[in-house]
Amino acid sequence: MTTTTPTLPAGAQATGKTTTTAGRVRKRLNSRTATLISIVIAVFWTIPTFGLFVSSFRPENEIKTTGWWTFFTNPQFTLENYQEVLFGRSSSSGQLANYFINSLAITIPSVLFPIAFASLAAYALAWINFRGRDWAYIAIFALQIVPLQMALVPLLKFFSTGVTLGGVTLMPAWDLVDEQKFAQVWFAHTCFALPFAVFLLHNFIAQLPKDLMEAARVDGATHPKIFRTIVLPLITPALAAFGIFQFLWVWNDLLVALIFAGGSSETAPLTVRLAEMAGSRGNEWQRLTSGAFVSIVVPLIVFLSLQRYFVRGLLAGSVKG
């Protein structure tokens, strides 16, 4: 590799200078095309969402007859779409306020349970010596590859008919009605989240300094004590990273909710309702646009305010499989 050469003859230095000048010009051109390309991509990525956002504030008649871009020449603003889609009384209006609550009720426990169980398991796999530890870790790690489609039919049967072995009922059917079905969804989401959660948290917990653990052990601290007072405070960023993952995953999930929560307004989350509206009322754009924004706004806030943790988690554990 060449380095700077102060001993070069003057002529060579001059040509060197011209190439750097040329290089500078070329670089500026390049950076200009680079800027242009990145702006084009950025616009392409933002326009669809922007169009939907603008439309959600336009009166029904306007949305259905003219393009949203005419808003800028003929601005008409209303909040009626949101009012209608959230609180409207008629069955066709959306009644999204109900579903919004359902989404919350589904998401919060579905985030908390896997965090707790996975961090306990990850700690055991990283810092407790027991026989078969490596195998236990590999087994849980390997479970990441099972697509949740593999579990849906039997798990639903598990809830609806219970478990019988040789005529003996080991577990009766859950027989849940209405809002009790939330428990099924929590259960399913927790199970499906665990392999990835254990993997991600294990990555963090295993990296804690060994000296720290040994010092605590020497001081007579038991595993539960170490876990509570030393490990948990240190892995808060990892817990946050996984928490955001799981939050976005559950809030945005359609498949699991569709199967375990059903489609009624008692339990179904926003995604199920919106998918249904997009199918049956595909041309009611005044409701679809505002409805879509109601469902987007919460994850967007979580995401934008906690993006740092999210990116860190993303880079630490590849991504949910």
């Binding site: 060449t2 009720a105 489609q149 929590w186 927790t190 499906f192 509570r228 359609l254």
Partner: protein
């Protein structure tokens, strides 16, 4: 225009129960693990004192029971994984060799059906198109953008714009794009952006989502739109991790940006590139929400995951649905093995 609190109350109550259950289970477990060992320690101490008072030989202190702690720490996770994932996956595999009502064994019939029924072959072809296109296109856009905005002004804002769709649900994204593809008859004002562009270029408006095979490509655009942000973030981090002295040395050698990209950047970020492509392939294989929301799998757009849902949960064909799930699983396995080997090499290298 009213909001009935009575409707909401039972739900909030259920949520409260859930939170209480959480506190009881997790808190109880930790408390148990705290209390039991200290109980044994105290009993051991009492035994020591009693033994000392009697002049009997001191009881030996047993080794701390690591195994017991491990058992209780792992218990909830392992139990849930067995009930929720391992046993169901085995049962699904068995169901795939049974008929729709899961009563009689039918051997390989369901698999034979999968590869002979013309509508399912269409589904398999669609899935193949998805898996070939989405990872490549999304990674290409992500990489291009990551290189372009690297060290630019407003880099973090620019990145957030591309990254934002990751926070949007597939359902929301499908609605956003359905609106872009919206159709109004000829002569009327178009409300969808795509048709407006076509019309203003002198073309005729089209019902985009009804025309096969174009509609599958338009659905793929939605997935690319969501996933490019993921590719961009991971690749951007990889680009930033390239040692500065290599870049500096190459620059002093006077390489063009083009050479720089192909000879320095690409080889350095190859591992990250593989991770991104494989991860996106796995995610794409399982795509469900987009297809279901945008077209419900009609007009020749269905994919494996959507068909699996239809067979198992709409038509009551558990056998055929399970066979599709197993096939999905089989497709995912080689990708994951490749991913793991790649990660391990990276760690050793």
């Amino acid at each position: 225009m009213e909001f009935d609190f009575a409707d909401v109350q039972p739900k909030l109550l259920m949520l409260l129960y859930g939170l209480i259950a959480f506190a009881v289970v997790v808190g109880g477990l930790l408390l148990l693990l705290d209390a039991v060992p200290s109980y044994f320690a105290r009993r051991h101490e009492a035994q020591l004192i009693a033994a000392a008072a009697n002049g009997a030989p001191l009881p030996r202190r047993r080794k701390p029971r690591e195994g017991m702690f491990a058992f209780f720490f792992l218990l909830p996770a392992v139990l849930l994984l067995m009930i929720g994932l391992v046993v169901p996956a085995i049962r699904t595999t068995l169901l795939s060799f049974m008929d729709g009502g899961s009563r009689n064994w039918v051997g390989l019939d369901n698999y034979a059906w999968m590869f002979s029924d013309s509508s399912i072959i269409r589904v398999l072809i669609n899935t193949l198109v998805w898996v070939l296109l989405v990872p490549l296109v999304a990674t290409a856009f992500g990489l291009l953008y990551a290189v372009m905005v690297d060290k630019a002004r407003f880099e973090s804002v620019a990145k957030s714009l591309i990254f934002m769709p990751m926070a949007i649900s597939f359902v929301g994204a499908a609605i956003i794009w359905k609106f872009v593809y919206a159709y109004r008859g000829e002569g009327q004002d178009q409300i969808g952006l795509l048709n407006q562009i076509v019309v203003s270029l002198g073309g005729e408006p089209k019902q985009w989502l009804l025309e096969s095979p174009l509609n599958t490509l338009l659905l793929i655009v939605i997935m690319v739109w969501i996933q490019a942000g993921f590719a961009m973030v991971v690749l951007s981090a990889a680009i930033k991790a390239i040692p500065a002295d290599i870049v500096e040395a190459a620059r002093l050698d006077g390489v063009t940006p083009w050479q720089m990209f192909w000879q320095i950047t690409m080889p350095s970020i190859r591992p990250a590139l593989i991770v991104v492509v494989v991860t996106l392939s796995i995610a794409t294989l399982k795509v469900f929400d987009i297809v279901r929301t945008a077209t419900n799998g009609n007009y020749d757009t269905s994919v494996i995951a959507n068909e699996m849902y239809n067979q198992a949960f709409r038509y009551g064909q558990n056998g055929q649905g399970s066979a599709l799930a197993v096939f999905l699983f089989v497709l995912v396995i080689p990708l994951v093995i490749y991913q793991i080997r790649n990660l391990r090499q990276q760690r050793e290298g």
